[in-house]
Symmetry: C2
Subunit: 343 residues, 2 copies
Amino acid sequence: MLVKGTHYRTVWMDNGSVRMIEQNRLPFSFEVHACNSVEDTCQAIRDMTVRGAGAIGATAGFAMAQHFLDPKQKTEDALEMIKRTRPTAQNLFYAVERVYNQAANSRKPSSAALEEAQAIANEDAEACRMIGENAARLLAGHPRMMTHCNAGWLAFVDWGSALSPVYAARRNGITPFVYVSETSPRGQGARLTAWELGQEGIEHAVIPDNASGFFMKNGDVDIAITGADRIAANGDTANKIGTYMKAVIAKEIGIPFYIAAPTSTIDFRCPDGRGIPIEFRNQDEVLWKSGVTEDGKIERILTSSPGSLAKNPAFDVTPARYITGIITEKGIVKPSELWELKR
Amino acid sequence: MLVKGTHYRTVWMDNGSVRMIEQNRLPFSFEVHACNSVEDTCQAIRDMTVRGAGAIGATAGFAMAQHFLDPKQKTEDALEMIKRTRPTAQNLFYAVERVYNQAANSRKPSSAALEEAQAIANEDAEACRMIGENAARLLAGHPRMMTHCNAGWLAFVDWGSALSPVYAARRNGITPFVYVSETSPRGQGARLTAWELGQEGIEHAVIPDNASGFFMKNGDVDIAITGADRIAANGDTANKIGTYMKAVIAKEIGIPFYIAAPTSTIDFRCPDGRGIPIEFRNQDEVLWKSGVTEDGKIERILTSSPGSLAKNPAFDVTPARYITGIITEKGIVKPSELWELKR
């Protein structure tokens, strides 16, 4: 997608170096971060320089390729190090295993790994484009959509999942309005989704996470679409903390609630949501906020009572019964029909 | 309640001046703010130097008394000015009308007004103490309670509503644990509730508003108690934005959800929640956060994408069907039995 008129992907590989848009400094500063070793790339995943299901997957694939290009440790150790960066996103495990298997069975592991990692990134971008095509019909007239966190192109290689239908509808002449919940603690909605939509000129409003129920109950929301970090075989879906609450409210009120994700996010080996590990992150992410001061300086401030502790689960699981449909590159299915996509 | 060992009320009157704890600077700085005119006092309500249903009520009563002590405008104009400060909190209208009626029917309006305003403040503190007594039995064993926003003593003259049962239980030897949702956009949970509980040595954790559903679903919460800004005759309750979402989730999971408020918060002239006006506040409260930097400076930072707009409803209405009971100084009743308290 476009940044100030130039097309960017979220993550790409350039001569052995993994390059990515530095998402911890967005939207206040647009920078490209370079990772010159597997260790660097793993650190960028851990500290969320790159984040979002698809973008993490592509980055992990590139990290595995980076290992084969210049092995500095045993392949199994590199594999384990990449897998340990973050526990919840299915795309990470999907990508790293695909690259590993392809390289391990090749006589030219380094080029096989690189090709496979690049293929994963390309497939991610193409799957996201198709998600938009498949779901644009859900956004007719002047649709008012609610989303959560960032499942836009910054969370994938390009296009995004939950926001791809917005971009597709817009190209079809539809003018969607997007309610962007800020997504505390890290504010990916207010920072990243609002920035993306602003770059594409799509009308939107940032709302406190607390206000999402208010607007749904008030008749202001026609449809809710979020992304997913992992979808279990029965349709239970792990996504950014707060998704569960929105889904329950949407069902209570009768607003359709969709999950948008490429099929690489589906973990058919995981029968239901109880099998999805939930990452707890550092409490400082809750206690401190970062942003930019009136004189343009990026600053970090404590917004909680000094000395108080916090708990910081990064994801929650929305049971399949609250989900109207799952939008994938292969079409839109009900959670109970997910197995059809396995073919 | 105690601040560093000294007993304070949230708001009081001293020789014609209305004094209050400056809540916009808490918990990073503890200051007493003095309002020497009705205008000053109104401004302090508007800019939330004082906030919370009971504290706003007492302050409004003192503002009315301040007028009668030294009239600088027509009494009706002063009355209207005070009423226009904030639209949602029932206690404000209750207090200002009580003081007005008492003074208007007295041959010594200034001393009648002062006495009545003081009586309202004392009644608020006593009602809150009784709320704690009445509800302490709901917190047995090692109860894990969730609350929202600040309905502690800072929101009243003393003791608080939702937190009063915690303080009462603690005095009875119970050790509650409190989940404090941060309460975006203004963070009254993370800032004020966490600070209050810290001062009283009560174990707690700050959680993102988004995580309240996670902990309820996870079996970590035994009971939820919040305050109220206005309760309609049928039990529909306006409270800080986000309360509605918590109540729906609590009902979905089967966790008892209580509202704690003095009967002065009940608006028997309002048949149901549709009659409660909802205040929309400035969008900058959503887009900007304030806190303290690592070197101790109070700073304001933009946490949203520059140029994005926000919507900022300050309250929502929780329909009575989601409320297990309403805790008042007269006892605990079901929403449908609220009329019994009118006697």
